[in-house]
């Protein structure tokens, strides 16, 4: 009974109070035939034993020098971020339903919403969704609800959106009678050609998804795309990397009017890679769409004495009140991750964040310059990129991946499965955590593999 505090006397007294002979008697309403008997589970371990076991398991992981991005990025996380986030008062609290006893969590969420609204240049932010892919799915559903002018439920989904995100959107909207129309990219530039939208100009489109940066790390023509959406009565959904926004024009300033919704993956803001999660999704929007925004929201208000305080608000949008007609079924979100992100953004500040973004950008530039000089390697797309890029080799990409892994390097992400048209292509990323030496090492290893 590792975490049960009862003494034998306690149990005896409690049973006496209840007037039953045994704990078993308290299960008397459950039909006897439902009892399962002994389960086939391993025996209990003491803390020292499980610690030994988990350390051994950890040793079976073989962390590689990370040159992969593709939706999850290795950034440096200042010690203060998790030292404070990991405090039991944050860690072991529930959703802040009792506002007066949850002012810590609530104020953190309010500050988070403020920071995300600032970073994206949008009016409001929710308090988080599960991750980047689910945030895009929720954004698509929200766009259809909020776009009263459109009756088509047709969504333009560029092929330059992360393929994992597209498959999640497909799963989540599959039963909602939405039509996802794949928007091709220009094979030369790796970006959406705004002129290609002309074929959709006379049709009813509910929303256009605009990724910045796109899956290939490239910069899309966000102003033109946003303006096309505005001119065609479509909701512009910006899918953005929050780290890039320290450097790049934020969605609220795209085109003449700005995007309507901004969403994406929050992991770059102080969240460890952790094999894929927990991360958090974010979603921001214009005030006009506020009542269609899914997920929790924290608002500032006053208490009975006029003092400032914070509370969950506009809850009538949510499942616990509106049930079958809620904006989403989301309940538990990623609160603790958002706490870490808030502390991360506060620590870095506008200048610190810009410097991290710029260093990622420069490191990837330097990596791609190095690779371009290697015989048998070519850059696939010529346009500007942020901190990811695509290269092609004359040998199978799988050989590069395997060969580098043998030398302790995660070479990137192979694109052949999702983009066979690109040939033996690898998506690579060098964040601020990669040193010049590591970048040179990567280039040398690729070169020697190609020489073999």
């Amino acid at each position: 009974m590792p975490f049960i505090p009862h003494t034998e006397d306690d149990v005896r007294e409690m049973l006496a109070t209840l007037g039953v002979p045994s704990i078993e008697a308290l299960f008397g309403e459950i039909p006897a035939e439902l009892y399962c008997g002994e389960l086939e589970l391993p025996p209990a371990l003491k803390e020292m034993e499980i610690a030994r076991l988990m350390r051994a398991r950890a040793q079976q992981n073989r962390p590689l020098l990370c040159f992969a991005g593709a939706g999850a990025y290795e950034h440096y996380i200042p010690a203060a971020v998790w030292a404070v986030t990991g405090r039991g008062e944050f860690y072991s609290a529930y959703t802040p339903y009792q506002a007066e006893a949850s002012q810590g969590t609530l104020q953190v969420l309010y500050e988070y919403q403020s920071m995300m609204a600032g970073l994206t240049a949008m009016d409001v932010s929710n308090a988080s969704l599960y991750d980047g892919a689910t945030s895009l799915a929720e954004a698509v559903l929200m766009a259809v609800r909020t776009n009263r002018k459109s009756h088509s439920r047709r969504i333009l989904m560029p092929k330059t959106v992360h393929p994992f995100y597209r498959r999640v959107v497909e799963t989540i909207v599959s039963s909602q009678a939405l039509e996802l129309i794949e928007l091709p990219y220009d094979i030369e530039t790796g970006c959406i050609d705004p002129a290609s939208l002309e074929t959709h100009s006379d049709t009813d489109v509910a929303a256009l998804v605009i990724p910045q940066i796109n899956f290939f790390g490239l910069l899309e023509a966000v102003d033109e795309l946003t303006e096309w959406a505005a001119a065609n009565g479509a909701i512009a959904i910006a899918l953005v990397n929050p780290m890039a926004l320290a450097l790049l024009k934020p969605p609220g300033e795209w085109g003449k009017t700005g995007a309507n919704i901004a969403c994406g993956e929050g992991q770059p803001l102080g969240i460890p890679l952790s094999g894929g999660g927990p991360y958090f999704g974010f979603m921001c929007c214009r005030k006009a769409h506020l009542h269609q925004l899914p997920g929790r929201l924290v608002g500032r208000t006053v208490d009975a004495e006029g003092k400032r305080g914070f509370t969950l608000t506009l809850q009538a949008r949510e499942q616990h009140i509106r049930r079958g007609r809620a904006t989403s079924n989301i309940c538990t979100n990623q609160g603790l991750m958002v706490t870490a992100a808030t502390i991360y953004m506060a620590l870095l500040g506008p200048e610190g964040l810009r410097r991290v973004a710029l260093q990622c950008h420069r490191n990837t530039l330097s990596l791609m310059n190095g690779l371009a000089a290697v015989d048998g390697v070519e850059r696939v797309f010529s346009g500007p990129f942020f901190h990811e890029a695509v290269y092609r080799t004359r040998k199978p990409a799988r050989e590069i991946m395997d060969g580098l892994a043998e030398q302790g390097i995660l070479a990137g992400y192979e694109l052949a499965r999702d983009y066979p048209e690109l040939g033996e292509a690898i998506l690579v990323c060098a964040t601020e955590t990669r040193t010049e030496e590591e970048i040179e090492l990567y280039v040398r290893r690729v070169a020697s593999l190609l020489e073999l």
Partner: protein, 482 residues
């Protein structure tokens, strides 16, 4: 004070600044940011002190008794946190899990297998990020099952009126019409109402057992029969598994598909609202439809199943492999409990609930279902107080905060007027329960003698009662610099 109020132009946590790297040599000017993002400019100590102080304004399990019904606020062992945070787990890139994360995958695989055994299902997927997403996955699997059999007439999902709000919300997100089924006076599903509701249009029923009313529905096998005979499937909402873990399995009760809340029964922390994890389990009928990824063992190596292995899968619901860090915590927790420990969880959470119920009844509180045994939680109603003293369950809850106790769940389930849903969990001692009963009795007395003390509560926290109406009528959702 907000972190923004502490901001001073030019102040910074400079240890976190990388060297100045000038401008981008390649990004065209019109794509660059011109406005400065409105983030605070503060020192590292400012940040640490500000957020540490904020943390102290929270009630949490580490600091308070937190009997929040339906949420299973039990102790979150520190070792689970520590071991899930070993650097080799934290630093594994999701796209390198097979290549470089065999240790992580071994834990996930074993967790899948243990959850399969605990629930009595044929297969488990760990991918879903939270309970509501697990529900949604379950609903999609039910849809896929009927769909693949060409049974397109099944457009309705049955949901008891006492269900969590996520049940109808997930069903409707999955494209079903929601049809409510009434609860009888004993807290069980009304079998007559169920018989009327089922038909060839029934896709399935979503049930929690023990239900949100804190009682075990003895007729669960009869419900399963009725729904199965009509061609529907049974969905089990695992929110209340703490009451029966290790003793009764949803699979043996006749459920076809289930989800679990690892952040409830399996003690992963709630984090002020997440992250959770909502693994789903299915019986043989639904095995082909499980969401991806699923971890498989091929000889000595672990790998993630894909669409090629599971062509009928409903697909992916999250970007990568789910909330791996949460899954590792649950793995550590279950290994520490072992088979004996798991059953004790159910036994002692049930003992604590029934004991506390009895103490509260002795103190003059009115149970919602006096003729029933409590499961791991129970309901009392304060309707008499509301009628006679105009003191509501909300007032009572706020007053509890003054005594250093987090309030139980209030106004849920909606069926019971002025209710408290109280879940003490197994990790609380008799002393804590006795003290809680005393506090409740003291407040009950106050309600008779000084009702305003309750109506104006709380009095001793960092803020007094907050104006929720103002927050909703005039939403202020983000700080704006003056």
């Amino acid at each position: 004070m907000l972190i923004f109020d502490r901001s001073r132009r030019g102040r910074a946590a400079r240890a976190q600044w990388l060297p100045e790297a000038g401008e981008s040599p390649v990004i065209p000017d019109h794509l660059l940011r011109k406005s400065r993002p409105s983030l605070p400019e503060v020192s590292e100590l400012d940040v640490v002190r500000h957020y540490t102080r904020l943390s102290q304004q929270n009630y949490s399990i580490d600091t308070q008794f937190y009997p929040l019904g339906s949420c299973t606020m039990k102790y979150n062992p520190k070792v689970c946190h520590d071991l899930a945070n070993l650097p080799e787990f934290l630093n594994t890139h999701p796209l390198a899990l097979e290549r470089a994360g065999q240790g992580t995958l071994a834990c996930l695989y074993e967790l899948q297998e243990m959850l399969r055994e605990i629930t009595g299902m044929a297969g488990v997927s760990l991918a879903c990020a939270a309970g509501a997403q697990g529900e949604f996955a379950g609903v999609l699997m039910i849809r896929a099952y009927h769909g693949l059999r060409g049974d397109s007439a099944r457009t309705e999902m049955l949901v008891p009126d006492a269900a969590h709000g996520t049940n109808p919300a997930s069903a409707s997100m999955g494209g079903f019409q929601v049809r409510e089924v009434a609860t009888g006076p004993d807290g069980n599903v009304d079998l007559a109402a169920l018989a009327q509701a089922v038909g060839p249009q029934t896709a399935g029923i979503m049930l929690t057992n023990p239900s949100t009313l804190g009682v075990f529905d003895q007729h669960v096998q009869a419900i399963a029969d009725v729904v199965h005979k009509a061609g529907g499937l049974l969905y089990y909402d695992g929110a209340n598994l703490n009451a029966i873990a290790g003793k009764v399995r949803p699979g043996d009760m006749g459920f076809d598909v289930i989800h679990l809340n690892l952040h409830k029964t399996f003690s992963t922390p709630h984090g002020g609202g997440g992250p959770g994890a909502g693994p789903v389990g299915v019986n043989d009928k639904l095995l082909p439809y499980l969401p991806l990824p699923v971890v498989a063992k091929d000889g000595p190596r672990y790998r993630m199943l894909t669409e090629a292995d599971r062509p009928h899968s409903i697909g992916h619901l999250v970007t990568f492999a789910g909330n791996v860090g949460v899954l590792l915590r649950a793995y550590v927790y279950i290994r520490m409990l072992g088979r004996e420990g798991l059953r004790r969880v159910a036994e002692f959470s049930t003992l604590n609930a029934n004991y506390l119920l009895k103490k509260l009844v002795e103190a003059g509180f009115e149970p919602a279902f006096p003729q029933r045994l409590a499961a791991h939680e129970f309901i009392i109603t304060l309707k008499r107080l509301a009628k006679e003293r105009h003191v509501t369950a909300l007032d009572f809850a706020k007053r509890l905060l003054d005594y250093g106790v987090h309030a139980p769940t209030v106004y849920f389930p909606l069926l019971i007027p002025e209710c408290f849903l109280i879940e003490p969990t197994e990790t609380e001692s008799k002393d804590t329960l006795d003290r809680f009963a005393e506090v409740m009795a003291a407040i009950l007395k106050e309600a008779e003698t000084d009702p305003d003390r309750l109506k104006s509560a709380p009095h001793s926290l960092s803020v007094r009662r907050l104006d929720e109406v103002r927050a909703a009528r005039h939403p202020d959702l983000a700080y704006k610099a003056e």
